[in-house]
Structures are given as structure tokens and as C-alpha cells.
Amino acid sequence: MSYEPTILGFLCNWCSYAGADLAGVSRLQYPPNIRVIRVMCSGRVDPKFVFEALKIGIDGIIVMGCHPGDCHYLEGNYEAEKKFNMLKKFLTFINLDNRIRLEWVSASEGMRFAEIVSEFTNSIKELGPSPLKEDKDLLDKLEAIEMAADSYRIRALVGRERTIIESENVYGEKVPQDKFDNIFNTAIYDEYMRCRILLSLKKNSKSVKVLASELEIDPSEVLEHILILKGSNSITMGEIEGITPIYEYTMEG
């Protein structure tokens, strides 16, 4: 029997869920793989929900909300978009970004709903089963991502992005999108690496070089992260083996 992916959809009550209903009323046929979880607003979809789904081996996750400007709660879908962009960036690191999707579907777009679901289901089918089911290493990386996404730095940037880009920051200025993106991309990358370091050290203490080969990045970069993590008391320097210091995870940070 051919492989049938498991797909989870988070649909906002007012537009997308209604669009899905209209697809039904119009008897539009689409693949039966999707299971829908209704939320009142796409803005409710916490990135953690997506992580949770990925962890248990769901093959594809699609979030759907009202078209920009149509949100029943005025701006919830914009919030959803920001959170989703963040997720997408993180998942690119482990090549899982093509397993999540954000789409806008209105209450009158039954056809669009059916088309999107069909297309998404097929694209996931082509990708094959989620590697998270087998790959323990990948799961560790996902855990690092989850931790990074939950960090104060990332949540603060995501939460404030709209305010400082679209209306104004505390100086009454608008921050240019490309400037913000640069800062944001750096933050995402840094936090991901730091969380991987933390989780790795949590298992057992290691040197910079060992970490560097494990993370496949330059030791100088590892050192930079180590210094920052040390500054926040998340890790401490333990023994020095020969000339190589070993770093340890602490509970404090």
C-alpha cells in the first residue's frame, strides 16, 4: 500500500473553517489525510502546537486564517503570520520547513481550500514520512529549536515586530523591514546554536572543539556562544584537560 501521510490543520473559526465547510457543501473532493483542529483565530496557534505535532510524527501541518484585513479579531492573522515566519526560519535549519504551511482562505473560498489541501497533501506525500519518526539526532535538533523559539529574545522580537515596523518604536520611528530581518535572522540562528550547545552540554560536558565538530561550525563561533551562555550562568567552565577547558551545563540559567 502506498504511503499515506498524516496531516494536521489548524483552522480559524471565522474564515478558513467556514471555507472548509463550504468545500463540503459544494461537495469538492480532496484527499482524506487532513484532520482539522478548530481554533477561534489563527493568532491562537502557538508555535508550540506545531512542535508538539512534529514531535509525535505528524507529517505535515497547515495553518489557515482569514485573508489580511479580514480577521474577525482585527489583527490576529497578522500575529499568526509573524509567528509562522519565525517557525519557518527555524525549521529550515533541519530541512523540515516544507512540512509546514500558512495559507489564507476566506469563507467563500471552498474551492481554494480543497485545492490547497490537495496540493499540500501531495507535496507531503512526495516528501515521504517525517524523518522525525526515526532520526533521534533530528529530534534533538528539534528540541533545540523548540527551546530557542521559546526564548525571550525570539518571542520578544516576534511579538513586537508589527509594532516597530508598521506603527512606531519607542522613538516614534519605523524600523525598516530589511534591518529588522537582519537582526531577526541573526537572533534565530544564534539562539538555535546556543540551545543546541546547551542541550549537548546537558548530556555531558564538552570542550569547544568537540562541540564545534558536533555542530559542524567553526570553533571560534562556538566560543562566542559559549561566552554568552556563560555570561547568563547557563554553563560554567569546569576542568581544564591539558590546555582545553571543558564546559558544563548548570541548572541556574
Binding site: L8, A18, C41, G43, R44, E52, I56, H72, T163
Partner: protein, 1003 residues
């Protein structure tokens, strides 16, 4: 005579539905009568709405569902008015309910009859572009969702009776007469679109690729016949060149109506934009005489359409259309502004048809004993546009004059506001409050779940193996009962559910059937009647999102249904009873601003015996209207104003504070506390109130251009109005020039001030009447005499007033010249015309004071827009509400508008407010966000993310700075929760735990 606490509303489009909801919420019994078989009217036919491009169906359908389910609204479809007698306060109404030949109480809207009907008939809703069957609902999202047999097409084959499992088909069902009494009547029958007559010059009806705008709207619609693709009816090709022709049947003495239909300029621009958005190949060109973008943010939309979407505007009226018989393309012949005759080929032509009065306007006028105006629209009072000629009967929406959706919604609420004023003593007298048993205590008990699985006739049962799903469900943990029903929504099944709850001691109920969007509240009501908290309920959508969409994969569909049921069970194990908190309401109102708007609102509140506080910053009441003498239509503003001020000052429930300044406003819906300082001696007053109306008005622009303030011969339109009305200074003037759009539609204020065209024409006509020898020239960009005001534009031209369009990029030059002025006008065709004049009158626009409005906006936590006017909750459907509940906006504070619109908004705000004030306490939604105080770090992100201002940071004795959610304001969207870095906020009804349980249940 005893007054009756009930209201008849005729017409259930967006206007009638809004009025019904307002009055139903304010405690009146509402009879909502609709002539067709479903509610929603024209709005439900639209694809998108201007100027926000909102999806019409998305925003209107929740409102329609609410109307259909409201316990105080009695909805009668397929009806005709038979008899009306009585007087204001007590009318007797007789209606005829025409038979649908399908029993409404039994029909579940499953649609099998429609599928099996062998007779293909014409679909009215899709404007003749797609075919449907003789048994049909108007459109898939119709409210109420019942089918009707169209006797005109039905051949009586009997198939539908055979296939209807609900036994709802009753061919012998007869028409039924119903009689009832009401205290007031609101007429909202809408309009009829103009249909070009046979042999019209546009070739409509003859050439396939000439369609009307409403047909084009269905072509655009994703749920329309072409599913949103732009195709030519002649051959299904994508039309590259599409011409939109304005004023079809409007401003046309020969083939249409003399008035302007008000909405076509905007909806055409919207259709052009959406067409381009849907298919990039389409290049829209709009032919129009004036571009009448006079509403809030309309001009910006037009500019955006030209700049971002490349929509072309050509100022011309098409003289003829011919068809190329081979290609079916259309050849348009027109004259450009500089007099050239051009022939151009287009692939498709859209006619922007105007709005006619409803076909049965005369019938309605006769039955209700009201007068119609010269165009057969409802004749209404100059100073109260919803009051018909008969007391107790009100008109709103397009039946009063052609208008767009927000103005219709405003007038609907305004009419409801006037009904409140008339019947306020009778609110709550005719509605029956259900007595419910006390709630069974379930907290802490292990879940005992009952699952009811619906066959929906064959709609689910035909594709999903329901007995198998039942067997599966009964083995899931905590499920003590799994049952299946032919129709779970039918009345007898409700009784079964209630009995099973008792018999099996169920404390959680799941229905696996259709969509919670339409049916959740029905089942919640059922379990509440059985004593369970209404939130102990879950639905699994195994029809709309399962059996109907996997008809050819019964095995997979059955598996999916099992999964959906399992996910619902997983969530149900984690749900808890929720409380709808109750808040007391202080039945008093605060109205800020003592102009006409504020006074009308305050007086309406006070005459309903609500103690009202009216605050005015100036020494005296009157506001902007103090400088207006008459309206264009001839009403005396000064007489009206002095009468209004006298009534305001003599009402004992009304406290007027002048020279007043608001120091502080605290609190929330139902419970505000305001401190203000007033009078010479700066006395301080405190006032508790339940609602706030912002009617702070706006200011007249003080021109910096055209030598204003430097040369005494340059004056403002308002100064001129005073001169012509109170002196004879104008007598000796030989030539007067007026310039329009001074301080409007420029870079700093990119909006239209809406009233200036009418003001200029009004004063010009008056001047001509008094001194026929005076030469008057009006320099304009577009003349925006929308609606019936068009008549006066024509009258002005007939009186010899000269209208000259100037190039907006090269505004006129004014040169002082001894005792005269020389005005140099650059026309759009690059001509220069010089006019010597004795007086230059500037039509100065309206502007909002940023600083003043910002102070108030901060205090009330409400937004202002880019142009510094207050920003309403929703441009289309909540025009006088703020997103923050209990606070309303009316008049010039909202955007520039004439007096009649301000009065409508004032009464509309009162009606909206009465839905709160009429209750002793209000119930907040149970599904709200909650803060875990121990986890909250007080970062304040949620405060920014909340669109409803429901969150603030407070200092807690134990936890320090933490977020606090006002349950009265929270809508439960969850935007705060999804962003909370500490996972300190959860949303009741959709908690993280519940959603995790569903995610886990997926596998």
C-alpha cells in the same frame, strides 16, 4: 392606547438584520419579514467590499447566523405584507407566508432534494450565470438553511419527496396568514438594480460580453459560477481589456434615473481592482463623468487603484457600443475631454448599474400609509433621515436613498435608535426568558462522555460507516455511551439527548455531525436544558469536512470520522465548565461634544429616562452647525438647532456641562467613571456611566492658499453663507468665483470633506435666486452631489452657474488686481482660462485636530486613523462601534459628513448603546484568556498584541507587575496566548492542554 414592545422589520438584508439584532438585543420582540427565501440581501451576493476589500461572505455570515438563531427574533421568509392598521405604539399587521412546499421545521438543509431534482432551473443568486434545480436554497451558506420548491419550474415528479429522509417535503403545504401586533415598524426592503431596457444603447441583453456590475460581482466571487476566474461569457476566454461604464441608469434623464446612485463609483473601482487581483491579464479602464469617492478613505482607494493596480480612468460617457460579430469584442465610441472622438476595442464591458427603488415601493407605501419622494424612495424628514411621513414607521438603507453598506448599517441602527425612543418603557415585556434548571456540579468527577453520531439522512451515513464509528467510539476511554441518530439536529433527537444525559449521568457531550459554526449553539442549548454547563460540549465535523469531501473513499472517510471523534473525545476529557461572568450596568450615558450629533444622542438617551451627561468644551452648545443656515434640500438649520438646544436644556434627565474638559475616564463597558471640570469656576464633577458616545466633531480648515487672510476679497464658504443669509453685501458683486477642495484631497489631507460640493451649490443657487445678475463660476475637481443632491447640481447648471474643472496638479492662480481678483484656471485639457472676479469663495474642508483627539483617544484607549479621525471597530459592519466595547463614535469625529448623516450616526450610537443599557447586567463570553499569575513576568507583550485593550499591567501584592485580563472586554481570540513567552496565558475553551490532547489524538 397600550404600547407594544414588539417591532416589525420589513426586509432582511444587511440593514434589516442589523436593526433586528439591535432591537432583539435591547429586549424587544422582533418580527423580521423577508420576501425571498433567505436573508442577507445584496451583500451576500458580493465578492469583496470597498474600501477594505473585506470578503463579504466572511463578515456577513456570522451576522446572519446570529439573526437566524436570535431568541427574540421571529424570522418569516417568503412573506408578503397583507394589511397594516393602527398607529405609532400599536400597529396590527397581517402577513401572508407563502408555502415553500417544504416543511421548514423538518428540513435540515441537507440538500439531497436539490441534487436529485431532475429539472434545471435558473439560479437567481448567481445572476443567471449558473444553473440550479427547482428545489434549492439560494446559496450554500443561506440562512435559514432550508430548501424551497420553486413552483414555477417544478414539474411535480415527486422525486424529492422520495429522497427526503427527514420527511420535510409536503407538496400540499398551503399559504398561511399570520397576524400580530407591534409598536413600531422599520422598512428596509433595499433596492432594485437598474436593468437596461430592451434595445438599450449599450447592447446589454444583445451582446454576450456586456454584463451588469452585479453579474460581474458573481463572476468575481470565489463561490460564484466561475469560481472567481474572470471569463467572457461568449467564449470563456480571459478578457484582457475590460471597460467599466459608470452611471448606467443614473444621472440619466433619458434612459434611467435623474439622481446619482452614490455607490457605483466605488464598487466599480473595487471590481476593477479585484478583477486585476484575480487575473493579472485583465486591464481595467473606467469611463466616468465624476469620480464620487466621498466617503471615509474612499479617495485613497481610488488613488491606490490607479497607482498599484494600473486602473485607467477616462472622463467620458460612452455614446455607443457595437459588437464585432466574429470576435464578440466590443467597440466603444466616446468623446474625450478635449473633444476628440475615439473608437476603442474592449473584450468585455461591465455596466455599473444604478440603484432603483424596490419594485414594490408603491405597494409598500400604500400598505403602510407612507409617502414616497419624486423618485419613489421613502420620503423622510430633512433632520431625521429615517423618519417617514407616518409616526412610528421608519425607513432605512437603500429604500431611503441609494447608499453603501456602512451607511445602511448606520441607518438601520439609527431607525432602531428611534424605535427605542418610542417604545423604551416596553422593552423586555414580550420576550420570554427561558427558565433553566440549576447546573449539575461536575467538577472533579471523572469524565462520563456521551457521543451522538449523526447519519444526516444519507449525507454522512451514505459514505461513512456510522455503525462502525459508533462501535469504535463506544470503546474509547471515558465514553459511557455512543449513540447514532438519523438527524441529530431534529427536535425529537434533542429530547433523546436530554434523556440520555440523565439516564447515563453524562457530564460531557459530543455530537459528531456537521459544523459547529451553525449548530454548536443549538446543542449547547440542549445540554444546558438538561442541566449541564454549556461548555461541556464538543463537536466533530464529520459531514462538511469528511463525508462530503471524500465521497469516493468510504473507507478513508470512515477512518477519518473515527479519528475526528477520537480527537474530540481527547479534548472532551479535558474540558471544564466555564462561567459567563456577569457585570452590572450603570444605566447612564456620557456624551462628549455638544454639537448636533452630541445633542441628538444625549436627547435620545435622556428621553428614554437614562440619566445623561453632555459635555461641551465651548461656552455654548451648537458646534459646527452654528455656521450653517440651511441645508441643500431647504431645511432651516438654525430653527432646528435652537429647537434642539431648547429641548436639551429643558430635559430633566440631561445634565449639560459647558466650558468643560474631561480630566479622566476610568473603567470599562457598563462601568465607567468620569471626572470633568466645567464652567468659569472650574468645578469638578464625577459621573458614573455605562456607555460613552464620542461626538467631538471636527474643525473647518483655515486656508493658507489663494491669498486667504491677505486679501479681503477672499473668504471662506462659511463666511459667504453668513453674508448671503444675513446681509445684502453681495448685491453689488458682478462676478463670484468659488474654488472647491481647498484643504481637501491634497497631500496633507488626502480625503474628501463630503459636504463642500453641496454647500457651494446651495449658496450659489441662493445667490442666483436673490441676485440673478451675478455671474457665478465654481472651479472643481469632481462634483460630488451624490444621491438626490444631484438634482441641485442640475438646477444650478440650469440657473446659469458655470462649472469649470481645474487640473488637480495645477490648481488655480489668484492675483490681486485693484478692487478685483484675477483667477487663472488651468483646465485638464491644458487650456488656461482667466476670470476676473469681485469675490473669491473658498470651500474649505474639514480637518480633525490631532492633539485634541489623541488626548481623548488615549483616555478611552480607542484608535484614530491617519487623518486623525476616530477609527471605528469595522468600517463596513460596525460603523459607530469602537473595538473597545461600550464606547461609540458619531458625527464629524468619525469623518466629514453632512448633518443628516451625523443625526443618523447619533441615533445609531444610541441604539448600539441601548443593547447594553437596557440590561441590568451583561454576560461576558466564557471562552476568555486567563493569566497564570505565578508564571507571568509582566513583559507587557500581550498588552500590545491585544486588539481589544482587554489587557493591562497591574501591580500585584504577591507577584509584582503582572498582566491582568478584563473578562468583559476579552473576545477569546488567543493572540496574547500564542505570543506569551512564559506560557502564562491560556485561553479557556481552547487551552494548550486541550489542543495538545487533540494533537496527540491525531495518531
Amino acid at each position: 392606547m397600550e404600547k407594544i414592545g414588539a417591532v416589525l422589520i420589513v426586509g432582511a438584508g444587511i440593514g434589516g438584520s442589523q436593526a433586528a439584532l439591535d432591537l432583539g438585543d435591547a429586549g424587544y420582540k422582533v418580527y423580521l419579514i423577508e420576501s425571498t427565501t433567505s436573508i442577507g440581501g445584496v451583500m451576500a451576493q458580493l465578492d469583496k467590499t470597498f474600501p477594505t476589500n473585506d470578503c463579504a461572505m466572511c463578515i456577513v455570515s456570522p451576522k446572519l447566523v446570529e439573526t437566524g438563531r436570535h431568541q427574540n427574533i421571529d424570522l418569516h421568509i417568503n412573506c408578503k405584507i397583507e394589511e397594516v392598521s393602527g398607529e405609532a405604539g400599536n400597529f396590527t399587521i397581517k402577513i401572508l407566508k407563502k408555502s415553500l412546499h417544504i416543511n421548514m421545521d423538518k428540513c435540515t438543509g441537507c440538500g439531497v432534494c436539490g441534487q436529485k431534482c431532475p429539472v434545471e432551473a435558473i439560479d437567481m443568486f448567481n445572476e443567471g450565470l449558473a444553473k440550479v434545480k427547482a428545489t434549492s436554497v439560494k446559496y450554500p451558506q443561506a440562512v435559514p438553511l432550508v430548501y424551497a420548491i420553486n413552483k414555477d419550474y417544478c414539474i411535480g415528479c415527486g422525486v424529492c419527496e422520495g429522497v427526503c429522509k427527514a420527511e420535510a417535503v409536503e407538496y400540499d403545504l398551503e399559504d398561511q396568514e399570520v397576524e400580530f401586533n407591534v409598536g413600531a415598524i422599520i422598512l428596509a426592503p433595499g433596492f432594485e438594480e437598474f436593468v437596461p431596457a430592451e434595445g438599450n444603447k449599450y447592447g446589454y441583453g444583445k451582446y454576450k460580453n456586456v454584463v451588469t456590475s452585479i453579474e460581474f460581482e458573481r463572476i468575481l466571487s470565489a463561490s460564484g459560477p466561475y469560481t472567481g476566474k474572470i471569463l467572457r461569457p461568449s467564449d470563456g476566454d480571459v478578457p484582457e481589456q475590460v471597460a467599466f461604464l459608470q452611471c448606467i441608469g443614473s444621472r440619466d434623464l433619458r434612459e434611467g434615473q435623474p439622481y446619482c446612485s452614490s455607490v457605483c463609483c466605488m464598487y466599480t473601482c473595487k471590481e476593477a481592482v479585484i478583477a486585476k487581483e484575480h487575473m493579472d491579464q485583465v486591464n481595467p479602464t473606467i469611463f466616468s463623468m465624476d469620480v464620487r469617492a466621498y466617503g471615509k478613505d474612499f479617495d485613497k482607494y481610488i488613488i491606490h487603484a490607479q497607482e498599484e493596480y494600473g486602473v485607467q480612468y477616462i472622463r467620458s460617457r460612452i455614446s455607443s457600443i457595437t459588437e464585432d460579430s466574429k470576435t464578440k469584442d466590443l467597440i466603444l465610441k466616446y468623446e474625450t475631454e478635449d473633444g476628440k472622438i475615439i473608437s476603442e476595442v474592449f473584450n468585455m464591458v461591465v455596466l455599473a448599474v444604478g440603484l432603483n427603488p424596490p419594485n414594490d415601493a408603491e405597494y409598500l407605501a400604500e400598505k403602510f400609509g407612507i409617502e414616497l419622494n419624486e423618485y419613489k424612495f421613502a420620503l423622510t424628514d430633512v433632520f431625521n433621515p429615517v423618519q417617514t411621513t407616518r409616526p412610528g414607521i421608519f425607513a432605512c438603507g437603500a429604500f431611503q436613498s441609494p447608499k453603501d453598506i456602512p451607511e445602511t448599517v448606520t441607518q438601520a441602527s439609527a431607525a432602531a435608535g428611534c424605535v427605542n425612543q418610542l417604545l423604551y418603557e416596553k422593552t423586555g415585556t414580550l420576550i420570554t426568558e427561558k427558565t433553566l434548571p440549576p447546573e449539575i456540579y461536575v467538577a472533579g468527577q471523572p469524565p462520563r462522555i456521551g457521543v451522538f453520531i449523526c447519519h444526516c439522512g444519507i449525507n454522512i451515513g451514505g459514505y461513512v460507516d456510522v455503525p462502525d464509528v459508533k462501535k469504535y467510539a463506544s470503546n474509547l476511554p471515558n465514553v459511557v455511551l455512543a449513540d447514532r441518530n438519523l438527524y441529530t439536529c431534529s427536535a425529537d433527537t434533542q429530547t433523546i439527548i436530554k434523556n440520555k444525559i440523565e439516564e447515563f449521568h453524562l457530564n460531557r457531550v459530543i455530537v459528531a455531525s456537521c459544523t459547529p459554526r451553525t449548530h454548536e449553539s443549538l446543542f449547547q442549548e440542549t445540554i444546558r436544558e438538561a442541566g449541564l454547563n454549556r461548555y461541556l460540549f464538543q463537536m466533530a465535523n464529520i459531514r462538511d469536512q469528511c463525508s462530503w469531501v471524500h465521497m469516493h473513499q468510504p473507507k478513508e472517510a470512515t477512518q477519518k470520522a473515527k479519528d475526528l471523534v477520537r480527537m474530540a473525545v481527547n479534548k472532551a476529557r479535558n474540558i471544564i465548565p466555564l462561567e459567563r461572568i456577569k457585570l452590572s450596568v450603570t444605566p447612564k450615558a456620557l456624551v462628549i461634544g455638544g454639537g448636533i450629533t452630541g445633542m441628538v444622542a444625549a436627547l435620545n438617551f435622556a428621553s428614554q429616562e437614562y440619566e445623561t451627561c453632555l459635555v461641551e468644551k465651548e461656552m455654548e452648545l451648537g458646534g459646527h452647525a452654528k455656521h450653517i443656515y440651511t441645508t441643500l434640500e431647504g431645511g432651516s438649520v438654525q430653527d432646528y438647532l435652537s429647537d434642539l438646544i431648547q429641548k436639551v436644556n429643558s430635559n430633566e434627565n440631561l445634565h449639560v456641562y459647558t466650558q468643560a474638559e474631561i480630566e479622566n475616564i476610568d473603567g470599562f463597558i457598563g462601568n465607567f467613571k468620569t471626572t470633568l471640570i466645567h464652567g468659569d469656576r472650574k468645578e469638578r464633577v464625577e459621573f458614573d456611566h455605562g456607555v460613552v458616545v464620542v461626538a467631538t466633531g471636527a474643525n473647518e480648515y483655515q486656508p493658507k492658499e489663494y491669498l486667504y487672510g491677505k486679501n479681503p476679497l477672499v473668504i471662506k464658504q462659511s463666511d459667504f453663507e453668513k453674508l448671503i443669509n444675513t446681509t445684502d453685501d453681495i448685491k453689488n458683486k458682478k462676478s463670484i468665483v468659488m474654488i472647491q477642495c481647498v484643504g481637501s484631497r491634497d497631500e496633507e489631507r488626502p480625503y474628501c470633506s463630503k459636504m463642500c460640493c453641496a454647500e457651494a451649490i446651495k449658496n450659489a443657487i441662493l445667490t442666483k435666486e436673490k441676485y440673478p445678475g451675478v455671474e457665478i463660476t465654481i472651479l472643481f475637481r469632481d462634483i460630488r452631489t451624490y444621491g438626490f443632491k444631484e438634482k441641485y447640481y442640475r438646477q444650478a447648471r440650469e440657473a446659469g452657474i458655470i462649472f469649470l474643472r481645474y487640473d488637480e496638479k495645477n490648481p488655480p492662480n489668484v492675483i490681486a488686481n485693484d478692487s478685483q481678483l484675477k483667477v487663472e484656471v488651468n483646465t485638464p485639457t491644458k487650456e488656461v482660462i482667466n476670470i476676473n472676479t469681485d469675490l473669491l469663495v473658498l470651500s474649505a474642508g474639514i480637518y480633525a485636530d490631532r492633539e485634541e483627539n489623541e488626548v481623548l483617544a488615549m483616555m478611552l484607549k480607542v484608535p484614530i486613523n491617519d487623518d486623525n479621525f476616530f477609527l471605528e471597530a469595522h468600517v463596513k459592519l460596525r460603523p459607530v462601534d469602537f473595538a473597545t466595547e461600550g464606547i461609540f463614535v458619531a458625527g464629524l469625529a468619525h469623518c466629514p459628513k453632512p448633518i443628516e448623516d451625523s443625526i443618523s450616526q447619533a441615533n445609531a450610537a444610541v441604539s448600539r448603546a441601548c443593547t447594553i443599557l437596557s440590561k441590568d447586567e451583561i454576560e461576558a463570553e466564557g471562552k476568555t484568556a486567563v493569566v497564570n499569575m505565578a508564571r507571568c513576568s509582566g513583559c507587557g507583550m500581550c498588552v500590545e498584541n491585544c486588539a481589544y485593550n482587554a489587557i493591562e499591567l497591574i501591580e500585584d501584592r504577591r507577584f509584582g507587575l503582572i498582566a491582568s485580563i478584563n473578562q468583559a472586554l476579552c473576545k477569546g481570540c488567543g493572540a496574547c496566548s500564542g505570543n506569551c513567552r512564559c506560557a502564562a496565558i491560556d485561553v479557556l475553551g481552547f487551552t494548550g492542554e486541550q489542543i495538545y490532547a487533540m494533537i496527540k489524538g491525531r495518531l
